[in-house]
């Protein structure tokens, strides 16, 4: 038998049919939907006279477009309210479980799935959102899809996909103090670029990866899409099983034992061949920060902005346009640069561990007066846990307040917009022009680096303050 990668094993087990000269028909175990990319799919379904084929494998929550204050009140923005109402209506009509605002199950779709135990090893998982790659942390094939594909899955629980190539990224060694999963991800993307992973599905391996918590693994896999890869995954191990065990939708009793037998097989065979391989050393990674307008434009926080020397043609004009947008010059040091906003949250860094790290860092320190900080838990459960662990008084003492769950300033679809020209150190995933509001300037970083910026009022190295 030919050696298989983890990806091959899961993919091949889900192929319903290989279309002649075309893509695979791939069966989907779990489908998450939200308010922004689903309404046109439901409309398409209705126009064809179809119902949702497997509502019990579909889970819905509104997250992209919801306010993060006063969630008990009706949503003020008419268009946002309409989209949220439409999601609820579509779910009601089709028998899909809907986790509405303020309920215990509400939150960012990629945070609530794992929390509830809906995300499990060996599954195929899709959602009309590119950061669906998050769920790969459990040893699942999880990737973002477009609305036409959402309609396909609603109609048939299947999707048509060409099989991607396989990439393995190995990170060996031990992370330095103050260096997190977010930094590993930003480091990798800065090395392989935002298109380095295109056409591939990544498997992350190596001792620096296996020593990450589930939260850290989710952050890393979440950012796979920013390298252009459709998704990223990590072979499940004891850390994974311990996380899943006992959660609401996790297998129980005998079913758990059976699942564990299957899940034990979920790793790449030793002689499996990857189309592309990269190896990095954890010791080379420092806390990262981005200085440009795509996630590949990242450097260590103690470094200076690279020059455009050696670039030519559209490479050079694109680079210069990017720095001009940011208001930065080639060769500038990042440390000491001004900061106006700090955003802690999103499907990248909105989990309990992120809030623990942020709170531990700011404990006994004070938020800088020039910084506006938005702390947005990824879900109601994260919010509950922050409260239960006594983090709220610590944050308050340091001058920080919690908001309510949602995608918030990550993509600024709601009112949480960074104003024109302002600098935002953000734990989210994209620093594209205008991503956090028209004219907003985003610097991606870890919760620790964000916390260092929040208390310093400028870009700072968290290692010097721990």
């Amino acid at each position: 038998m030919t050696a298989k990668t983890l990806f091959d094993k899961i993919w091949d087990a889900h192929v319903v049919k290989q279309v002649e000269g075309g893509p695979n028909v791939l069966y989907i175990d779990r489908h998450f939907i939200h308010e922004v990319t689903s309404p046109v799919a439901f409309l398409g379904l209705k126009n064809r006279g179809l119902k949702v084929y497997r509502p019990d494998q579909t889970t819905a929550t509104p997250d992209h477009n919801v306010p993060t204050i006063n969630q008990h009140m009706s949503i003020k923005d008419e268009l946002s309210r309409n989209q949220v109402d439409m999601l609820k209506k579509n779910c009601d009509e089709n028998g899909i479980v809907y986790h509405g605002l303020g309920t215990e199950g509400h939150g960012v779709v990629h945070i609530i799935g794992p929390e509830m135990g809906l995300t499990q090893p060996g599954m195929t998982i899709v959602c009309g959102d590119s950061h669906t790659s998050t769920h790969g942390a459990f040893g699942a094939i999880a990737f973002g899809i477009g609305t036409s594909e959402v309609e396909m899955v609603l109609a048939s629980q299947c999707i048509m996909q060409p099989k991607p190539k396989k990439m393995r990224i190995t990170v060996n060694g031990t992370l330095d103090k103050g260096v997190t999963a977010k930094d590993i991800a930003l480091y990798i993307i800065s090395k392989i670029s935002t298109s380095g992973g295109t056409g591939h599905f990544i498997e992350y391996a190596g001792s620096a990866i296996t020593s990450l918590t589930m939260e850290g693994r989710m952050t890393l896999c979440n950012l796979s899409i920013e390298s252009g890869a459709r998704g990223g995954m990590i072979a499940p191990d004891e850390t994974t099983f311990n996380y899943v065990k006992g959660r609401q939708f996790a297998p129980k009793g005998e079913d758990w034992d059976k699942a564990m037998e299957k899940w034990a097989e979920l790793k790449s065979d030793e002689d499996a061949v990857f189309d592309t391989e990269y190896t990095f050393d954890a010791a080379d990674i420092e806390p990262m920060i981005t200085y440009g307008t795509n996630p590949g434009m990242g450097i260590g926080v103690s470094q200076t902005i690279p020059t455009s020397e050696g670039l030519s043609g559209t490479d050079k004009t694109t680079y210069q346009k990017s720095l001009q947008y940011m208001g930065y010059n080639e060769g500038d040091a990042m440390k000491g640069k001004p900061v106006d906003f700090v955003f802690l949250g999103s499907c990248t860094n909105g989990r309990i561990e992120d809030f623990r790290e942020f709170a531990a860092f700011v404990k006994g320190k004070k938020k800088a007066d020039n910084v506006t900080a938005w702390l947005v838990p990824g879900s109601k459960q994260v919010q509950n846990q922050i409260e239960a662990e006594g983090l709220v008084p610590i944050l308050q003492e340091a001058g920080f307040e919690l908001r309510q769950p949602g995608c918030s300033a990550c993509l600024a679809m709601n009112d949480d917009k960074i104003p024109m020209g302002k600098y935002s150190v953000s734990t989210s995933n994209r620093n594209f022009e205008g991503r956090q509001g028209p004219g907003a300037r985003t610097l991606l970083a870890s919760p620790l680096t964000a916390a260092a910026a929040a208390v310093s009022g400028v870009i700072a190295d968290p290692r010097e303050m721990m």
Partner: protein, 195 residues
Amino acid sequence: MAYDKFSKINSPAVPLPYENVDTDQIIPARFLKAVERKGFGDNLFRDWRYENDGSPKADFPLNNDKYSGKILVGGKNFGSGSSREHAAWAIYDYGFRVVVSSFFADIFKGNALNNGLLPVVVSPEFLEKIFVQIEKDPESTFEVDLPNQKFTITATGESTDFEINPYKKHCLQNGLDDIDYLVEMKEQIAEFEAK
């Protein structure tokens, strides 16, 4: 989603000589609040195309009268970022039927193909030739021949082949989508589930 059948297009092209044109530029998130698929072309490249007060930015190619046509030509890594299909809808709704680049992001490419918008991948050298030709004569045309998978710079006669999955080519030529195909497969899917 219904779209026009695609065969051959002969048209001038609009240049967008930037790399990593991401989906947040193609259609910013704040314009994704619709629950129907219409009017997205109005906000295509919104923040590159318009000032804050809504007046057009004169130096943006879409606002420059000398450029027109059904073909959009972008720098490498076009369509990176979010999975929002609204990006493909906006480009199509504006009136483009083809996007040419030396490299596309995966999800964008899939979304385009599902909506009758043909992504054409050419070599970086050929892409440069297209940009040069548009600058030389913005009215000159390009031929996109899907049946023969050929892209031609009409003025110089230079042409290049492009790849497309045979199944997707068939769908585009006939205006078909995957959902019809999958719904027909119901029985086979049920059998798979029973295994």
